[in-house]
Each structure stands twice: as structure tokens, then as C-alpha cells.
């Protein structure tokens, strides 16, 4: 993916390290700072645990963060446009459950995958249309969708987990030594990065997030852009659900619960603003990896899951606070004329 999806292209005129940082723009300098933090965490982790820096463990981390990575890619696209979709975790569970039902019922894997992707995009379409037609705040509306989808998952399975065999190629297999889920997530994130940087849809998403009314007056088809983004998010949620089922070898109706919030956390850690207009896929990748590495290290150190939750929460809070402080620092220096 492009190194940094900062909103403004660099101007070549200025020099020096500080100028270089400023040249990266607010998003770029945030990503640079985050990369440093991640590096420090990795160094500390490798000092604390001998197993951390082994290829087996690192590939394991990659496999584990893949589902989150896919959902975080979707969330990045929505968040830069000022939108959000809290139903993607529940959508992933539902899609996983439906795929499992189809596979155990004798349908082919191809059919199951295509059907589930269509369902995910359909859910996204409904979310998108509901939001642009009613002008309802997406946070609340998709909270409703989330509950609906969770209900459907539970009803479909009677709240039981469905074991799935013969569907390991998407989750358990490797390609050229790389775990398939990581491969898929990488592709998705690169695609999201390219979308944001080089396509009209991506640029329009950033424009809408940056100033919705000005985008409207400028003639951008705001509604269709928003709907398209929710459709993409729904499709990616379905993909995440498939990878999850394939990796675990079973579909749980609660499999994706809470992943949407982790995705939001990763994207915000990556420098995106909930208000839209700011954010990058590069930052999101670092956010996802940071969360994954921390969970992994705490696992290796046999820290109880309760305390893992505390640690992850603290990371999110600190990341958001420092991001805000950085913004203030920059706006102090920018000033007017």
C-alpha cells in the first residue's frame, strides 16, 4: 500500500527533520509516531519473552489479527467519510453461521462463499440506504442493525456452535509460508489503501468526511458514495466471517461479537478521527498490529485474560489522548496570518 495516505501531497520546498514531519501532514506524522511506538513495544516484547521473535509466533500473530484487519479496513473507509458501522462484527458472525449451514448441508464452498458475500453486501446496502434516507446517526442506526443480526445468528443456530470440516483453505492453510488469513487481510488492506488514495470513491469519501456540506455543494453524489461505502463494509464483514469460520473450523453465532469495537479502536489508534476527514490505512495497519502484538505478548507471559483486557483498554485510551494532544500541538503551530 502507499506509504502514507495523508490528505495533502508533500510540497518539496522545505527541509530538515521537523519540516519532514510537518510535510507528512497531520495523518502522516501520526503514523510515523505510531510506528515508533510499535517498534518500542516489539523490542520490549522480545526482551520479555524469548518466543516472541520466532517466525512461528509472528506468523501466529499475523493469523490472529487477520480478521480484525479486514474489519478495520472496512471501518477505515467508513470513518474517513464520517460514517461508522457497528454491525460488521454481528454481520461477520451471521455470515459465518450461514456459510457453515450451507457447507454442512452439502452446498459447494464456492456457492457458500458467493452467497455469503452477497448477504453481507445486502446488509451493507440496507444500512447505507437507511442512513442516507433517514439521515439517522450511523452510530445508533448500526447499533440497531447489530442487535438484529445477532438475533438472526442465534435463531439460525439455536445459539449453538456449528463445526465445519473441509473449509480450511481460507483460514488454516498457508500460501508460500504465509498464513492464508494474513494474506487475505493484506490484500484487503492494500485495496482499501489504494481506494482511498487513488479512486474517486475514496477521495469523495475523504471530502465528505472533511466537509460534507461543501462536498454536497461541489456536486459530489453524497448519498451514493455513502451507500457504496456501507456495501463495501458489509462485503468485507462477510469475508471476515468466512475467514473466521475457516480458521477456527467452526461457526459460532457470537464469533464476531465485539470485533467491531476493536476495529474502531484500531482505526482510531491509527490516527483517524471519528468526525471524519482524517485517517489512513497505513495507520490502521499499525493499530491492528499493535493491538495484536500486545495481546500476543500478554498471552506468552501467561497474563490472565482479565488483565489483558485492562492492558488493551489502557493502550486504546492512551493512544487516543496522545493523538488529541498532537492535534492541539499542531494547530497551535499552524495559526493564521
Amino acid at each position: 500500500m502507499s506509504a502514507v495516505d495523508s490528505l495533502t501531497a508533500p510540497s518539496a520546498a522545505r527541509r530538515g527533520p521537523l519540516a519532514a514531519l510537518r510535510r507528512l501532514g497531520p495523518t502522516g506524522s501520526h503514523v510515523a509516531a505510531l510506528a515508533v511506538v510499535l517498534l518500542v513495544v516489539i523490542v520490549v516484547a522480545s526482551l520479555l519473552s524469548e518466543t516472541f521473535l520466532t517466525s512461528d509466533n509472528l506468523l501466529n500473530v499475523a493469523r490472529q489479527v487477520a480478521v480484525l484487519g479486514i474489519l478495520a479496513g472496512a471501518t477505515t473507509l467508513l470513518m474517513v467519510s464520517g460514517g461508522i458501522d457497528l454491525s460488521i462484527g454481528a454481520c461477520a458472525s451471521l455470515c459465518g453461521v450461514i456459510a457453515a449451514k450451507m457447507l454442512t448441508g452439502g452446498d459447494s464452498a464456492t456457492l457458500a462463499v458467493l452467497a455469503v458475500l452477497a448477504i453481507g453486501m445486502g446488509v451493507g446496502l440496507l444500512n447505507g440506504i437507511a442512513i442516507v434516507v433517514s439521515n439517522a446517526p450511523p452510530l445508533i442506526l448500526t447499533l440497531g442493525t447489530m442487535s438484529i443480526l445477532e438475533g438472526f445468528s442465534q435463531a439460525t443456530t439455536n445459539a449453538e456452535t456449528i463445526p465445519v470440516s473441509n473449509f480450511g483453505w481460507l483460514g488454516a492453510a498457508t500460501l508460500a509460508g504465509i498464513p492464508m488469513p494474513a494474506f487475505v487481510a493484506g490484500l484487503v488492506l492494500v485495496a482499501c489503501g489504494l481506494l482511498l488514495r487513488f479512486t474517486r470513491l475514496g477521495r469523495d469519501a475523504l471530502a465528505i468526511g472533511g466537509n460534507e456540506h461543501a462536498s454536497f455543494v461541489a456536486g459530489i453524489g453524497i448519498r451514493r458514495v455513502k451507500v457504496a461505502l456501507y456495501v463495501i463494509a458489509g462485503g468485507l464483514a462477510a469475508l471476515a466471517g468466512l475467514v473466521l469460520v475457516s480458521r477456527v473450523g467452526a461457526a459460532s453465532p457470537m464469533g464476531g461479537v465485539g470485533l467491531e469495537l476493536q476495529a474502531v479502536a484500531a482505526v482510531v489508534i491509527g490516527g483517524a478521527s471519528l468526525a471524519g476527514g482524517r485517517g489512513s490505512v497505513a495507520g490502521t495497519v499499525l493499530g491492528v498490529v499493535l493491538l495484536g502484538v500486545i495481546t500476543n505478548v500478554l498471552n506468552l507471559l501467561n497474563v490472565q485474560t482479565y488483565y489483558q483486557s485492562v492492558a488493551t483498554g489502557a493502550v486504546i485510551a492512551i493512544a487516543v489522548m496522545s493523538g488529541q494532544a498532537g492535534t492541539r500541538w499542531r494547530s497551535d503551530r499552524a495559526g493564521g496570518h
Partner: protein, 502 residues
């Protein structure tokens, strides 16, 4: 009118320097404000005016130089420190709480009463005193939100007075007011100064400055170029303009009308609720038509209809002979009707994007294909054509001064390929030099066959550019006159109904 301003300086800025990155906004500026005077701060966009105002207001710390208030060094910066020192700033938009009463708003942010209780009686007494000082006849218990914008501004002045303010900074205070309300406000500003307050007055309206100010400091390119005694020396508008841009400027003339252009846009009996009643309008190619009226007279509503933001409840609009039935600006743009909106920050720009992407926003929105192509050479041409400063299309548009941002909005609108241009207050808040450049561009566009409608509450704006002026009052067209027949006087009379009442 006012007590004679005392000669001893109330506030002094000495050799103030301030840089932002590589840009030197202030290159050693001296500024002096006396108690009881209205002191105008003038200069083109990007001259360093806003930076100097922020330094004086205690919102920015200068890199070098000193700031003295009543002979004492101002150490700390920030809103709290400024309040404590008696420095108040009034921004372009009102900063009042609409649901609170006049008295409560005047008392806002000040501690009074005992044990956490409000001393209502003291609040009313102070409020009444402040209103009386300004000669204002307002009910103290009325919620501020029910007042006119002009009265709200006056309440802000009263608040500053009741806070024992010593230095009052006004940044384009009449920006949201009509001509008559502006005159009333200017009178109140004079009364405020008469109470011994030093008033710093920032405005692009030179006629206002000449009316209200005692002295003027002219800033250009980060330096003070002149301090003028306006009253004593009988300074005129042209002298101010010369000082601001460093050369003589001739008064703009609309370009010669080619004559007989085809009808580009025709509106018939357009009605929008009670805001616009049966307004008809014809725009020809090559023609620049002014839609003039006081704030709320209907000309903005008409602009919203033409640009697809509002659908008329009755009547029709046709472009090139075909009916225009659109519900979005996108639809209007597709038919070649493009808008320069009034509020450029809210409606014109995506602040996080660079200049090039802002310029190409509309054209891209109307284009086809999946990829968003960056056409840098094209953006460079716009930047050069309009004299956008800095001359680099890859800087963030939020880093530009107001006038240059306005040029970017212009470039975006014109680059969309529109042949019918609706321009709302196209040169508002823009300095004299940029004004000339924008007006010249509008003239060129009309010369090339565009039909232009200029929507404004400023007589000067329509007089400087238009071939024909349509005057609206209370949602209806009250007059239509060729430019030759229009003067500032006639326009204002028609728009306010002064003539009818006489």
C-alpha cells in the same frame, strides 16, 4: 461624538515578530492603541493582520517583541489571562448563548453572588447600566436568541463594557449585518470607545473604517507601512487603498456588454414559501446581473433555487430553454449552473485537502471513471491565473488566507465548466487587490459568454461589476435598473423601502 482620545498609549506592541514554519507573518511590528480611540487595522489578506490581532488579544505568543498594557508587560497568554487583563475579542459570529436572557449573557463568565448562588439583582443592575451606556432599549429578561443579529452584536458590546474591558478587538463586526444595522452598530462602537475603551477595528469595509475610526495602522507583508490620523488629516478611501496595496487602483468598471446574447437562464414566478414571491429573472450570455437586497430580502433564497439547493414551491426555472428540475447542486452543475457559495468555510472548501484537490473537486464529481486523477499542471494554471498565494497547489487550503481561499472556491466553480455562474458575495472578506483580480476574472468569464448572477447585500459589489441590477425587498423584486441608472443611494433606498416611506 466621543471624548477626546488621550494621548498616552493604553496598549503597545513593540517590534513584534512571529513566524509559522518558514513563513514570517510579522517581521517586527509596532502598534499603539490609546484609551478612548477606535483604531482600524488594515491590510490585504495575508498581510499579517490576523496574526497581529491574535498577539494583541493574547491568543498567540510572539517569537520576539514586547506587549505592554497600561505600561505593564503582558506575560501570560490565553483567553483567561486576556480576560483578567481586560482584553475582549468580538468575532465575526456572535458568541452568545441563545437560550439565556440578555442579563445573563451580559453577566456570563463573571463570578458574582455568594455561595454558588446567582445574585440576580446585581446582574440586572449591571446589565441595565451596560445597556444604558450604549443607549440600548432591550428587555433584560428576553432570551438573546429572539433578538435580531444586530441587537445580539450590541449585547456583546454591552457585555464587554460590563466586564470593565480596556481593550476591545472587533474583527469584521458588521459581516453578518445589513447596511442600516451596520450603521447602528458603528454608533455603538463609538459609544463604547467614549467610555474609555481602546477599540481595535479590523474590517475590509473602508467606508465603515472612515466613519468609525480615529486612526488606522496599515499592515502589508508583515510590516507596518503607515499609521494614519484619519480625522485630523481628512484621509479618504483612496488614500487607504493606496496604503494597503502600495499603488493606485482605479475603480472597477463592468466590462462592455457584447449585447444580444442568447437567454441562458429564465426564472418565472419562482416562489419559495414566504421567503420568495413570484420572482422572475432573465440572464443572457455575456451578461452580469446583480441580485441586490438587504439581508433576508430573498436574493440568497433565489441563489439556492438556481443552484439546486432548494426546490421552489411554485414557478419554474429554465436553462438554455429546457426546464431545470433538480434537487441537488449536482443536478444543477450537470446543467451548467455553478455556485460560489457565500460561506466559503462551510460550503466552499474541504479544509484538509490541498489547493489542487479543492480546485478539482467539482470537475471530478461531474466526471467519469474510477480513478481520481490529479491534474497538477491544470491546478498550477489556476493558481497562476488567479494569483493564489502561495503559488503552490500542493499546500493545504486551510493554510491560505481568506482572500486566497475565496480564489480557490472561484477556481473550483469555474473549473466545473459551468456556463451560468451564481456568485454569492464573491468578494466579501477579501482584500482590495484580490477584489480587483476576482472582478477581472468575472469580467473575462462574461466576455467569454458566461451568464453571471451576483448575489449581494453590498451596493458597491453590484455597482462595480453588473450590467443590470435587480433589487429585492421582502421576497419580491421591487426594481430592475441598468447600472448607469443605479447609485449607492438609489439602491439602498430601494432595498430598504426608504423611498416608499418618504
Amino acid at each position: 461624538m466621543s471624548a477626546a482620545p488621550s494621548a498616552a498609549p493604553l496598549l503597545q506592541a513593540l517590534e513584534v515578530r512571529k513566524s509559522f514554519g518558514a513563513t514570517q507573518a510579522l517581521k517586527g511590528v509596532d502598534f499603539e492603541l490609546r484609551a478612548g480611540e477606535v483604531h482600524a487595522l488594515l491590510g490585504p489578506n495575508g498581510a499579517g493582520k490576523s496574526t497581529l490581532v491574535k498577539v494583541i488579544a493574547g491568543a498567540l505568543r510572539p517569537d520576539a517583541g514586547r506587549l505592554l498594557l497600561g505600561g505593564e508587560e503582558l506575560g501570560r497568554i490565553g483567553p483567561a489571562a486576556a480576560h483578567a487583563a481586560g482584553i475582549e475579542t468580538m468575532l465575526q459570529q456572535t458568541a452568545l448563548i441563545p437560550d439565556l436572557s440578555v442579563a445573563e449573557n451580559i453577566a456570563l463568565g463573571r463570578r458574582g453572588g455568594r455561595g454558588g448562588f446567582v445574585d440576580w439583582r446585581a446582574q440586572r443592575r449591571d446589565g441595565a447600566a451596560a445597556l444604558a451606556a450604549l443607549g440600548l432599549d432591550l428587555r433584560l429578561e428576553q432570551p438573546v436568541g429572539e433578538l435580531s443579529i444586530a441587537d445580539q452584536r450590541a449585547v456583546e458590546l454591552a457585555r464587554a463594557l460590563s466586564r470593565r474591558c480596556r481593550v476591545l478587538i472587533l474583527d469584521e463586526p458588521t459581516a453578518t449585518l445589513g447596511a442600516r444595522e451596520a450603521r447602528v452598530l458603528l454608533e455603538q462602537v463609538r459609544r463604547t470607545a467614549a467610555e474609555g475603551v481602546g477599540v481595535v477595528y479590523v474590517s475590509h469595509h473602508l467606508d465603515e473604517v472612515l466613519e468609525v475610526a480615529d486612526r488606522a495602522t496599515v499592515v502589508r507583508d508583515g510590516r507596518v507601512v503607515e499609521v494614519m490620523e484619519l480625522r485630523r488629516d481628512g484621509v479618504q478611501a483612496r488614500d487607504l487603498v493606496r496604503a494597503m496595496i502600495g499603488r493606485e487602483v482605479e475603480v472597477a468598471q463592468p466590462p462592455a456588454l457584447a449585447g444580444g446574447g442568447a437567454i441562458a437562464l429564465e426564472a418565472q414566478s419562482v416562489t419559495v414559501g414566504r421567503r420568495l414571491q413570484e420572482v422572475s429573472l432573465t440572464l443572457r450570455r455575456g451578461e452580469i446581473v446583480g441580485l441586490f437586497g438587504a439581508v433576508g430580502a430573498g436574493q440568497s433564497t433565489l441563489a439556492r433555487v438556481l443552484s439546486g439547493q432548494t426546490r421552489p414551491s411554485a414557478g419554474s426555472v429554465a436553462v438554455d430553454g429546457r426546464p431545470l428540475r433538480v434537487r441537488t447542486p449536482r443536478g444543477a452543475l450537470r446543467r451548467g449552473v455553478a455556485l460560489v457559495p457565500e460561506d466559503r468555510l462551510r460550503s466552499g472548501l474541504v479544509p484538509a485537502f490541498d489547493v489542487a484537490e479543492n480546485i478539482q473537486l467539482s470537475a471530478r464529481a461531474l466526471g467519469r471513471g474510477v480513478l481520481a486523477r490529479r491534474r497538477l499542471p491544470e491546478a498550477r494554471r489556476w493558481v497562476a491565473d488567479l494569483g493564489i498565494h502561495p503559488a503552490d497547489p500542493t499546500v493545504a487550503v486551510s493554510a491560505l488566507s481568506g482572500g486566497n481561499q475565496q480564489k480557490v472556491v472561484f477556481a473550483k466553480t469555474v473549473a466545473s465548466g459551468g456556463r451560468v455562474l451564481v456568485l454569492e458575495e464573491p468578494t466579501a472578506g477579501v482584500d482590495v487587490g484580490a477584489k480587483q483580480e476576482i472582478r477581472a476574472l468575472v469580467g473575462r468569464l462574461a466576455g467569454d459568454g458566461a451568464a453571471v448572477a451576483i448575489v449581494s447585500t453590498e451596493p458597491e459589489e453590484v455597482l462595480a461589476m453588473c450590467h443590470r441590477i435587480v433589487v429585492l425587498r421582502k421576497g419580491s423584486v421591487v426594481a430592475e435598473l441598468p447600472r448607469e441608472a443605479a447609485t449607492r443611494q438609489t439602491l439602498t433606498e430601494l432595498a430598504t423601502g426608504a423611498e416608499a416611506e418618504r
